[in-house]
């Protein structure tokens, strides 16, 4: 039996990505848990923003809405959604965390519809929300998600939120700000980045107990596997303790894992 479940593993690994002093824009659930864990461990100087207008609150517990009371609890500023998006557009925000029903090899996300008829979709999802703006405007887009071949698709039914679009230089060619884009995908199997030229998804590290077979079997597109991939360093006791006792004591998120 492992010392942690998949959710705990993904959150811990994601939290390590956030360096002290960085600025991160989060949503509810895994993203805010990740940011809180980082802030309570190695990154006390992390600035946390919420798209509804909350800036650097002293989060008492995890918000259930990106705009609920907690997101401005003793915050340093409470403002509009436009101003938060403008901070992103001005280059102030290092990381955003996003998810979606589908992701492709260039990190493009679908959270709009399933089906091939836009006017009468098989399944309607919420749509972009702030995701398109955040992925367009923040420096680095993070995705934390369980991996499966249903979610990792060759071609999303709808390209809601930009990753590297059609790969290569297509993202900047489309007009999106320079040097931005998907950074890491953290799943229950491994950590992925993107090939510096082609911008295809690429294995960076494999979680303990997982195999390259798992990587391939749980994706409908081919994930690049370079020679030099690493093994993921396991969550430490300290990380797990903080996550379980301070970040998510009622197991709202980690209970799902």
């Amino acid at each position: 039996m492992t010392r942690y479940n998949n959710m705990e593993l993904m959150i811990t690994i994601a939290a390590r990505t956030l360096e002290d002093g960085a600025v991160v824009l989060v949503g509810t659930g895994v993203p805010v848990a990740t940011a809180m864990l980082a802030q309570m461990t190695h990154a006390p100087g992390l600035t946390i923003l919420f798209e509804a207008g909350g800036v650097a609150p002293l989060l008492p517990t995890m918000p259930i809405s990106v705009g609920d009371s907690r997101t401005t609890h003793k915050g340093l500023k409470a403002t509009t959604m436009a101003e938060i998006m403008e901070f992103c557009q001005a280059g102030m925000v290092d990381y955003c965390f996003l998810g979606g029903a589908q992701i492709d090899k260039y990190g493009n996300l679908n959270s709009t519809i399933i089906g091939d008829d836009y006017k009468k979709p098989k399944t309607r999802f919420p749509g972009s929300g702030g995701a398109n703006d955040l992925a367009s405007l923040c420096w680095r887009t993070m995705v934390v998600t369980p991996q499966s071949d249903k979610r990792f698709v060759e071609k999303p039914d709808f390209l809601t939120t930009p990753g590297y679009l059609q790969g290569g230089t297509s993202r900047e060619d489309a007009g999106l700000p320079k040097d931005t884009g998907p950074y890491r995908v953290i799943t229950d199997i491994g950590v992925y980045g993107y090939h510096p030229e082609t911008k295809e998804m690429m294995l960076i590290s494999l979680h303990p107990g997982k195999t390259i077979e798992d990587v391939k079997a749980n994706s409908s597109f081919e994930i690049l596997v370079p020679d030099g991939y690493e093994m993921t360093t396991e969550p430490s006791d300290h990380e797990l303790e903080v996550l379980r006792e301070k970040v998510d004591p009622t197991k709202v998120i980690i209970g799902r894992g």
Partner: protein, 335 residues
């Protein structure tokens, strides 16, 4: 260069011409007179079938539930609305089958709580004309309208289907040559907002997240405001830096305590998560949902009755004041 530029194919549901809105604003009575009224009168007077509606707040935070219920009770039809983080409000308008078109940035979901199966049914029916946007794009569309300009250039949406199904247009920056997305001003016919404090003239203060309420009020032809608390104008004049919405934009003011119920009111009360869960649950069964709506909306003569049926002031005072422990600020507590 322009042969390289794409236009979104989504329909624009509202006028973009700022001169038309200017002409409307010019004729609007901007005198400082009392706008105090009732929810019933406000909906009767200011919401008509076919209107395009914008709702303030953030889906489940600071939402004008009393007025939305009245819109449903009166059977308003063929509305348009802006799905700018539209969560419980989208769920409500879907329950009432009030609309036939939507600028969608965030619809059918209730954030971490899950998806509304009834709202999805409505949006999957093929009967709703939908145009896609991002939250930022809709915020900036309201801002362009508030600023009195026909569009704002932005750097998101580019390269995606969200753009392709939007009403935005690609353009080149006249200074840098960079490709930008131009998003058109959005002028709703009527805005429905809930705030912390307002005076009888419509000067409003908001605590915590403002979302887009400031711009929506300025962008809309008519504005209905419900307020947790009606205050004397003296309270407004005491702190002019706190006025988010100025009186001349507002047409109706109604005091509705707990008016964001079952949503959260920052610094005042928290959301009723039990009741919101019940909403999501009963929506899955058509008959149960019908009965639920009958009980909670159609048979209620007003918002107070809805509150009573769901625990009333007692539950409000107890359960919801608990949520007030997440203060904006936090008066007595050192860091």
């Amino acid at each position: 260069m322009s042969e390289n530029l794409k236009n979104g194919t989504g329909k624009l549901f509202t006028n973009v011409d700022p001169d038309k809105m200017r002409a409307f604003v010019r004729e609007k009575n901007k005198k400082k007179v009392s706008k105090l009224t009732t929810v019933k009168e406000a909906v009767e007077k200011f919401v008509s079938d076919g209107d395009y509606v914008a709702i303030g707040g953030f889906g489940g935070v600071r939402i004008p539930v009393a007025v939305i219920h009245e819109v449903i009770r009166r059977g308003k039809k063929n509305l348009g609305f802006s799905g700018h983080v539209s969560t419980h409000d989208c769920q409500l308008l879907s329950a009432g089958e009030c609309f036939d078109r939507c600028d969608a940035a965030y619809i059918v979901g209730l954030e971490a709580r899950g998806l509304s199966s009834n709202a999805r049914r409505v949006f999957q029916s093929g009967k709703i004309n939908v145009t896609e946007w991002s939250n930022g794009a809709l915020s900036w569309r309201f801002k362009a309208a508030a600023m009195g300009i026909p569009f704002i250039p932005i750097r998101s949406m580019l390269g995606t289907d969200t753009f392709n199904y939007s009403g935005a247009k690609e353009m080149f920056c006249p200074f840098t040559g960079k490709k930008l997305a131009a998003v058109p001003a959005l002028y709703p016919d009527v805005a429905i907002l809930h705030v912390h404090r307002a005076d009888i003239y419509g000067n409003c203060q908001i605590d915590g997240i403002v979302v887009a309420d400031d711009d929506i009020a300025k962008a809309s032809k008519r504005v209905i405001v419900t307020t947790e608390k009606l205050v004397d104008t003296y309270e407004i004049r005491r702190e002019p830096n706190r006025t988010v919405i100025p009186y001349w934009t507002v047409d109706a003011v109604i005091e509705v305590p707990f008016g964001s119920y079952p949503g959260n009111m920052p610094g005042v009360y928290f959301s009723d998560e039990e009741h919101l869960s019940e909403w999501l649950k009963v929506e899955k069964d058509e008959q149960l949902f019908k009965e639920f709506l009958e009980k909670n909306i159609y048979s209620c003569k007003n918002f107070s009755e809805y509150l009573e049926k769901n625990g009333g002031m007692e539950k409000n005072e107890q359960t919801y004041s608990a949520g007030a422990s997440f203060k904006i600020g936090g008066e007595n507590d050192p860091l």
